[in-house]
């Protein structure tokens, strides 16, 4: 399971901060404005990487969910990773919509239009918001994780639909600049490099946010498991034989140097 030591997470956070700062300087100060769109085009350097980050996050959610559903790789950690990544994906899908709206108003002349790209992106937002709600509907942990994993795989169908919507249908939204059908990027060099840097900076941000979010999820999971243990212990003590849950609790198995991982520490040896 992916887990970084705390100094590594802090270093990643610092690197992300520097990268985002450099991006702001490049995108707002160094790179020239667009011939047609003027300064408004500078929103591309946050709108495009935000959308990329959302795709990446939902891809990680889909892969983690598949790994949870496959019995041979089933571990609670995959479910935790899927949920953490989806949360970040939802935030950046929302950000993509807001930034797109701010870009659309000066350039298209509209905050919002009902074209296929915008609508399928809004659908993506609500699909994964619904997924996050579904994750919180209480149930047995394994049942909850399985139904979340199935929902995540269904929701992921919309990601390629969003991406190819501008090629499949006639939209007001332009086609992708770099990954268009002809792979023929019509973008001047310094703008292209700034966009590439922006994608790298946002990918770093994803790495940092994920590392933190997974740390947090494990910490909270550990607490939940201890509370569950306590509840079971209390019921066993009061006479009702409910020990069936106990075998599954230490499931967080790999423990690859997870410094201070209470999901392992809390559920495992010292209980």
């Amino acid at each position: 399971m992916i887990s970084l030591a705390r100094p590594a997470v802090n270093a990643l956070g610092l690197l992300t901060l520097v990268a985002l700062f450099v991006l702001a300087v490049l995108a707002l100060g160094v790179v020239p404005p667009d011939a047609v769109q003027g300064d408004a085009q500078r929103l591309m350097y946050v709108h495009v990487p935000a959308a990329w980050l959302a795709y990446l996050a939902f891809f990680v959610t889909a892969v983690s969910s598949a790994l949870y559903l496959w019995p041979r790789t089933r571990q609670p950690g995959w479910d935790l990773l899927a949920g953490s990544s989806a949360e970040i994906g939802v935030i950046f899908t929302g950000l993509t919509l807001v930034l797109g709206s701010l870009w659309g108003r000066p350039v298209w002349g509209a905050w919002w239009v009902w074209d296929a790209r915008l609508v399928t992106t809004a659908v993506l937002f609500f699909l994964y918001l619904g997924y996050l709600a579904l994750r919180r509907v209480p149930a047995d942990p394994d049942v909850r994780a399985r139904r979340a994993a199935i929902a995540a795989l269904i929701a992921f169908v919309d990601v390629p639909i969003v991406h190819f919507s501008v090629n499949w249908w006639r939209t007001l939204h332009q086609e992708a600049t770099v990954f268009n059908p002809d792979l023929d990027a019509q973008i001047e060099g310094s703008m292209a490099w700034t966009l590439l840097f922006a994608v790298v900076a946002f990918t770093l941000a994803y790495g940092y946010l994920m590392a933190r979010r997974v740390q947090l999820a494990r910490l909270e999971e550990g607490r939940e498991e201890r509370e569950l243990d306590a509840a079971i212990a209390a019921r066993v003590a009061s006479g009702s034989e409910r020990t069936d849950l106990e075998d599954r609790v230490p499931g967080e198995g790999t423990g690859k140097g997870n410094i201070g991982d209470p999901a392992v520490a809390g559920a495992g040896e010292h209980r």
Binding site: L216, G260, H270
Partner: protein, 45 residues
């Protein structure tokens, strides 16, 4: 609003969203750590 206004709004919103999310996580970290035993806190550190 001028073009620059939309751009600044976009970059400010991006920064605020990132800071708010990191801050929200930090608050939850604090809340969970308060519930840990001394031994577990030691392991966490």
């Amino acid at each position: 609003m001028s073009d620059a206004g939309f751009v600044v709004a976009g970059y400010v919103i991006t920064a605020v969203v990132l800071i708010a999310y990191i801050g929200w996580m930090a608050a939850r970290f604090r809340r969970v750590r308060r519930g840990l035993t001394e031994e577990e806190l030691e392991r966490w550190r």
